[in-house]
């Protein structure tokens, strides 16, 4: 950290940059203010320190600055942290378990090895393939130990709930209905899109999504856990030539 006190114009610019980063829709297009501030963050150490410090004070952490914009993560319990109430409020305990499992599943599916976290290549994922991958890896989760209430036990239970759900139920109009795993995966993707962590890739067909740099950085920031490790192992083994 530089010991030189920041001047006020720098503080203002730093606040502006964080403002852009918080507005999920803002894009650092060529020639825009956001882009200029991002470039400054990348190239000017003093400015970077001001921004990082200011973010810390707000209960935020800068996870990275990919080309698509600055990615922030909240400190738990801070003003910017997502709470359970911000999610779909009608989720019961089983829904939440499945939601968590799918989230971990997508992360493991897209980034099986640590090298993947540094690879700026955008991943394409499809709903059906994610579901098949999770289904194929349930055994790995079922074998986890752990006492009642431990993350391992939650993973086991989640795998159990997932296994008991049918893969597909359709509504009268032919869409996927609640209560099947494909719908659950679809809903998690919907949420990721809302978070700016995924985008629909309609040109490559329905049910295809890009995972953005934001998602890559979020997963890379994770300390991992029994479930994530098990699924990443399964995935890395599954695709080894």
């Amino acid at each position: 950290m530089s010991s030189v006190a920041a001047d006020l114009t720098q503080v203002r610019a730093a606040a502006e940059l964080l403002g852009f980063a918080l507005a999920r829709r803002a894009r650092p297009v060529e020639g825009g203010v956001y882009r200029a501030l991002l470039d400054r963050y990348r190239s000017e150490l003093g400015f970077k320190d001001v921004v990082d410090t200011m973010a810390e004070g707000l209960g935020l952490e800068v996870l990275g600055v990919p080309r698509s914009g600055m990615v922030l993560a909240p400190e738990p319990g801070g003003a910017f942290a997502t709470r359970l109430a911000d999610l779909r409020t009608t989720m019961d305990a089983d829904d939440r378990l499945v939601f968590g499992l799918v989230l971990i599943g997508i992360a493991a599916f897209a980034y099986p090895t640590d090298a993947d976290f540094d690879d700026p290549e955008t991943r394409l994922v499809e709903i059906v393939r994610v579901d098949e991958f999770i289904r194929g890896s349930l055994d790995a989760l079922g074998g986890l130990g752990g006492v009642e209430g431990s993350p391992e036990e939650r993973a086991r239970t989640a795998a159990q709930v997932y296994a008991d759900l049918p893969q597909l139920i359709t509504t009268q109009t032919g869409r996927r209905a609640r209560g099947c795993t494909l719908k659950a995966v679809e809903e998690v993707f919907g949420w990721l899109v809302e978070q700016g962590a995924a985008r629909e890739a309609g040109t490559l067909g329905p049910d295809t999504f890009h995972l953005t740099d934001r998602f890559r950085l979020l997963v890379a920031d994770s300390a991992g856990g029994a479930a994530l490790d098990a699924l990443r192992d399964a995935r890395a083994r599954g695709e080894a030539p």
Partner: protein, 500 residues
């Protein structure tokens, strides 16, 4: 280095075997995608998939390094156009063919990993064979600020554009090919023309801006600073911003051409463009300086000419100048004003962000421990429990209210006043007021449930239960009853579809 064949075949063949093998391997993904296309229902006889694959690389290379690179959508759209010309009879299939080709080049079947092949290095006769992995990409996706863009690897550029007899890993060479191709396509000419055009626009804008500012200094009212001038300033600023960004990109791209080994033709054109951009940039920057000062000129002039515009809410009479004025407006206009007002009046809204581990912890929190895991919200103790007990109605009162409300089970609509009239006949005398109150509340609840209070569990259970099966409609008739006043609601059994 020993050659691949260990000098068995010929020294010349040996020397270039590895390179030629690589070139051969690079075309394999295309063959593979052609083979696999049959599984996707694409008939090789209908579409020239190899040509589509070449076209995909061409489209991507055509825009690499420019301010706007080809997005995935651009590439797929372009290929779809070509495919539909190959097989005009099946317009529905063209997009599938295009998708198959793009997916094939991205190696989507293997999750966009690198294509990977093994080269057998035989070494000198008698040595054991060494297997050497060779992996590469053809196309890959990157996220840009305007969406996912497609980039071609150096290998793809060199092979598909430059032919096969070259050093495939030479990045400079790849850039030279890209530049040469863009020069051939007259894309440099186009870029140079755009830059020159933009320069002329900037000169024009500078001139009119100078005139406008002079006029404003003389008389603030000479131009419309509410609407017209800010719009013009914004347009000019956008123009400058866009040009400066675009020119930087082009400059960098072209500079690369001067540094890398390129043809004299490319060098000459590159030099010309660098000069042109340098000149244009000075003009843009000059315009920008004027733009930055423009608003200041207006404000100074305004203060001097004493025409300060009211900008703060407290300088308005809320009732007369906002509320009444809005009420008098037609709906769409009123909506604009009201939402603008509300947005400002409501203050800050905080965006919610996530962290992967916290998210999973939250979702997977064991049900028993959930209460303690919830963030501790500061609750002002208000004797909530006690209040609940006071609010609770005694069982006989609830029973009587239920009996009164059962009048609607006949199926028709019953007036609230009729229900209230029935109360004294049903309830014991000492409970009449309470029963009437409960009936009133239930009807009100059926008319407009307080969902927020319900979610917080803030509603006396009885009302919820009683009002659960009924709904109420306000048809404007006024209620003036000894138990209450307001609107005489029409109460009826809740219809099926509104339950679902």
């Amino acid at each position: 280095m020993t050659g691949a064949y260990g000098g068995v075949i010929s020294p010349a063949a040996d020397a270039s075997a590895r390179d030629r093998w690589r070139a051969l391997a690079l075309t394999d993904p295309v063959s593979r995608l052609v083979r696999n296309a049959a599984h996707a229902g694409i008939d090789d006889a209908d579409y020239d998939l190899r040509l589509l694959a070449l076209a995909a690389v061409d489209v991507v290379v055509g825009s690499m390094g420019f301010a706007r690179e080809a997005t995935l959508d651009d590439v797929v759209d372009e290929l779809t156009g070509l495919a539909s010309r190959m097989c005009p009879g099946r317009p529905d299939q063209a997009r599938d063919a295009a998708q198959t080709v793009v997916r094939g080049l991205l190696n989507d079947a293997h999750d966009q990993r690198r294509f990977s092949y093994r080269f057998a290095d035989l070494g000198a006769p008698g040595e054991t064979v060494r297997w050497e992995a060779y992996s590469f990409r053809l196309l890959s996706l990157r996220e840009a600020e305007y969406g996912p863009v497609v980039v071609a690897s150096d290998q793809a550029v060199t092979l598909f554009l430059g032919g096969l007899d070259v050093d495939l890993e030479d990045a400079d060479r790849a850039l030279a090919h890209v530049l040469q191709r863009q020069l051939d396509d007259r894309r440099f000419d186009a870029a140079a023309r755009t830059a020159a055009q933009a320069e002329r626009t900037s000169v024009g804008m500078s001139a009119t801006l100078a005139e406008l500012l002079d006029a404003t200094r003389r008389d603030v009212g000479s131009h419309d600073w509410e609407q017209e001038v800010p719009d013009r300033l914004v347009r000019a600023r956008r123009h400058v911003e866009a040009r400066i960004g675009e020119d930087d990109r082009l400059l960098e791209h072209v500079q690369g051409g001067l540094d890398a080994e390129t043809s004299p033709e490319v060098r000459a054109v590159s030099g010309r463009i660098v000069d042109l951009i340098g000149r244009a940039r000075r003009v843009h920057l000059d315009l920008e300086r004027r733009l930055v000062g423009a608003r200041e000129v207006f404000l100074t002039a305004q203060v001097r000419q004493r025409l300060a515009r009211r900008r703060r809410l407290r300088m308005l009479a809320l009732r007369d100048e906002v509320l009444l004025a809005v009420l008098a407006l037609p709906r769409p206009e009123a909506l604009t004003v009201a939402s603008a007002f509300a947005d400002r009046a409501l203050g800050v809204s905080v965006p919610r962000l996530v962290r992967f581990d916290d998210m999973v912890d939250m979702l997977w929190a064991p049900p028993r421990a959930r209460e303690s895991a919830e963030p501790a919200v500061e609750v002002v103790p208000d004797g909530d429990d006690e209040a609940h007990d006071v609010q609770r109605y005694p069982e006989p009162v609830v029973g009587a209210a239920r009996e009164v409300l059962s009048a609607v089970t006949g199926g028709g609509e019953v007036r609230l006043s009729t229900l209230l009239d029935a109360v004294p006949g049903v309830a014991p005398e000492e409970d009449v007021t309470e029963v009437a109150e409960l009936v009133l509340l239930s009807a009100l609840w059926a008319f407009a449930p307080d969902l927020a209070a319900e979610a917080e569990g803030d509603v006396a259970g009885e009302i919820d239960v009683l009002a659960g099966g009924i709904e109420a409609v306000d048809d404007g008739v006024v209620l003036a009853h000894r138990f209450g006043s307001g609107r005489d609601l029409l109460v009826a059994l809740r219809r099926k579809e509104s339950v679902a």
